[in-house]
């Protein structure tokens, strides 16, 4: 149906002849789009295939050689990677940073968003404009001051510091996204709960959170991807014991050619988790984008 409206079908009945003509006319369009799609897919395929080849094979020729020599494929690099305690620790550090940073931003953001949406307090609108302004603050401006602050309270280099930083910088978007969603909840629903004698906390957990789930899903995915994929914040705040996967792989990229058997599977390991999240929750991801992901 969409195809036909978009093709500008004139009122009247198009015969199979015109349909065929249209298909032929569209041939170049299909070719162009297929080429574009290949252009977007092949680089990732390259990484995937490279990660399943040995370092000497990768040094000798491009990944497409497996098309003629499938015997090159091996899981040796992954085996070595999983036996490397540094990399395994880094993977778990990534999890230990990402999960609390995501849960934290959802809880703290939802609480604040509820207050902005449904609790009257003086200066509310101005404060919310402030939150909108904070959406675009670059993390760079906070690196030196927060490093100094963490040094003084003794959490510099620790996972908790990295998590707190990610929550803080995730909050403006969280509050913005959730407030706009919460504000759309019908007032009668909240009034009814109040009449039933529910307090604000009860209303928040029993009414607002369940209704807000789609927005919370969008937020969670964004925060998850942002934190999981972060390199800069971890480079600054994560010490040797808190190093996540991105930082560990980055160390290896200084000797790119020599370490390709660590870099390729490591990079693939680091991107497969967000990719799964992306495919599983694509709908919420798109909704979050459209709600104004301006980080």
């Amino acid at each position: 149906m969409t195809g036909q409206t978009l093709a500008g079908k004139a009122p009247g009945a198009p015969g199979t002849g015109t349909r065929l003509a249209r298909l032929v006319a569209r041939g170049p369009l299909h070719v162009v789009l297929v080429l574009v799609a290949l252009f977007w897919l092949l680089p990732s395929v390259g990484l995937l295939v490279s990660s399943f080849r040995s370092a000497p094979d990768n040094a000798a020729g491009g990944w497409w050689q497996v098309l003629s020599a499938p015997a090159q494929l091996t899981v040796d690099s992954y085996q070595a990677l999983l036996e490397d305690p540094g990399m395994v620790d880094a993977f778990w550090n990534t999890v230990l940073i990402t999960v609390p940073a995501t849960v934290g931003v959802v809880i703290i953001g939802a609480l604040a968003a509820y207050a902005f949406a449904w609790v009257d307090f003086p200066g509310r609108d101005w404060a919310f404009v402030g939150v909108v302004g904070l959406l675009v603050v670059p993390v760079q401006v906070a690196l030196i001051p927060v490093a100094d602050l963490y040094g003084r309270i003794g959490i510099f280099g620790q996972i908790s510091g990295v998590v707190a930083f990610h929550i803080a910088f995730g909050l403006p978007f969280a509050i913005f996204l959730l407030r706009n969603f919460f504000a759309g909840i019908p007032r009668e629903l909240l009034e009814a709960a109040r009449i039933d004698g529910a307090g604000e906390i009860r209303i928040f957990f029993r009414v607002v959170l369940p209704i807000g789930l789609p927005a919370i899903a969008s937020l969670s995915i964004f925060q998850f991807l942002w934190v999981w994929n972060d390199l800069l914040v971890a480079l600054v705040f994560a010490g040797a014991d808190a190093t996540p996967l991105t930082v560990a792989i980055r160390e290896q990229t200084r000797q790119f050619g020599a370490n390709i058997d660590v870099i390729a599977p490591g990079a693939f390991l680091s991107l497969v988790v967000p990719l799964l999240v992306f495919f599983a929750f694509q709908r919420y991801f798109v909704q979050g984008l459209l709600a104004g992901a301006e980080k």
Partner: protein
């Protein structure tokens, strides 16, 4: 009551986002260790040091080029994708990279940009396409086995002796690895020349294991196919021949006389081996291309949503009025889409100002200075070995000032929506 809900967010935002802005502003007025007040000296350094100037210049290139291309491509893809049935698959392919980290994207593109066309995808594709159109000979580095018979003339080789119809020329070459001899090469033979035929053989005058005689076509020696042989008369090239699989060539119908033979320059031209993507001049465009790979999908999705929000009856009305597809796009779709395009552009500009990981990962160490951007330099100066947090703070304040217009845009848009 409200305070209880807001307190955790306010504490975190205050301590880790708002307070740092002021701290950085003050810190930028102090020296590298933070001990003595230096006024605006850090800003002076920032604007005079070649490294930071390159970084600022590159950031300008990024801001001007990258968001515009991403928005433009996103628009084109969104419009085109709507016209095919498999648009969902197409869109997923293009915006999937959004889930991938800058680091992993950097690794992916380091592989794509390898110089060697046998390893880097970009150069492999380019050289393959170029091979179709150009005539690289495939015998780069070969030289005559008898230098007194064939003399160098530029990149080509010309016979010192002359040949007449009825003669047979033996033109031996050396210095080719066995892998450089084409697969379809056969054992060299010496052709018999007819009365008005000038014939000859071009072969690899080298017997593996030794024992061959220079200038003689020995039993196990291979002909070199595809060599372009030019027959030179008094006035220049009078005929051209190409050797067969056994290395032989023959030219009929020559007038009697003396001719010299030339192995054309094209035989010895080395094949084009692609573009040096990560050289100082190209590294920034190359990193921008990797960034586009991530962000065009974002532009496409947001613009696509904007497109589908345009009421169908408006488009239909224009078509009924006789407007062509291009006119409909220019006069109806584009104006209605303008606000969306602006939002996408501003979002991408903010993103590009802060670009960091791709520039850290893709350029090899030797060209890092050429690819430098403000966010990367800020990190390098303050944490990555520089240890000059005064200058680092000045750079971060610069970044903050640069996003202020975007902040104003967001606030204005937000208030007008209410």
């Amino acid at each position: 009551m409200a305070l209880a809900f807001l307190a955790p967010a306010l504490v975190l935002l205050g301590a880790l986002v708002v307070y740092p802005i002021f701290f950085s502003a003050v810190r930028s007025l102090f020296d590298r260790g933070g001990d003595s007040f230096v006024g605006l000296a850090n800003y002076g350094d920032m604007l005079s040091s070649p490294r930071t100037r390159t970084a600022i210049r590159n950031n300008v290139i990024w801001v001007v080029v990258a968001p515009t291309i991403a928005t433009g491509l996103g628009l084109v893809y969104a419009v085109l994708a709507e016209r095919v049935r498999w648009q969902t698959a197409f869109k997923v392919a293009v915006f999937m990279p959004m889930a991938i980290s800058g680091l992993a994207t950097g690794v992916i593109f380091r592989l794509v940009y390898e110089d060697d066309p046998d390893r880097g995808l970009a150069n492999a594709v380019l050289t393959t396409v170029a091979d179709v159109f150009s005539s690289a000979g495939g015998y780069a580095g070969a030289r005559p086995s008898q230098p007194d018979l064939l003399g160098a003339e530029g990149e080509a080789y010309v016979s010192t002796a002359t040949f007449a119809p009825g003669d047979t020329a033996r033109l031996g070459l050396l210095a080719l690895r066995p892998s450089e001899v084409p697969d379809d090469a056969e054992l060299a033979t010496v052709p018999a020349a007819g009365d008005d035929t000038l014939a000859g053989v071009v072969w690899l005058d080298f017997t593996r294991g030794g024992g061959g005689e220079a200038g003689a076509v020995d039993a196990s020696e291979q002909g070199l196919p595809g060599v372009v042989v030019e027959i030179l008369g008094a006035t220049g090239v009078v005929a051209t021949a190409t050797t067969a699989d056994d290395g032989t060539f023959a030219v009929d119908g020559l007038d009697p006389g003396a001719y010299r033979l030339r192995l054309a320059e094209s035989n010895f031209r080395p094949p084009w081996d692609g573009v040096r993507w990560l050289s100082p001049t190209l590294v920034t465009p190359a990193v921008i291309a990797a960034w586009l790979w991530i962000w065009v999908g974002f532009a496409m999705i947001v613009i696509g949503a904007g497109l589908s929000a345009i009421p169908r009856d408006v488009l239909e009305a224009a078509r009924v009025d006789g407007a062509g597809e291009w006119q409909v796009f220019r006069q109806v779709t584009a104006p209605l889409l303008l606000p969306v395009l602006l939002v996408v552009l501003v979002t991408l500009v903010i993103n590009v100002l802060k670009i960091f990981d791709l520039v850290l990962v893709i350029p090899p160490g030797s060209v890092q200075d050429d690819a430098n951007v403000i966010a990367l330099e800020m990190w390098r100066v303050s944490f990555g070995g520089g240890r000059n947090q005064g200058l680092g703070s000045a750079l971060s304040v610069l970044l903050f000032l640069l996003v202020l217009p975007a902040m104003a845009f967001n606030i204005k848009r937000f208030r007008s929506e209410r």
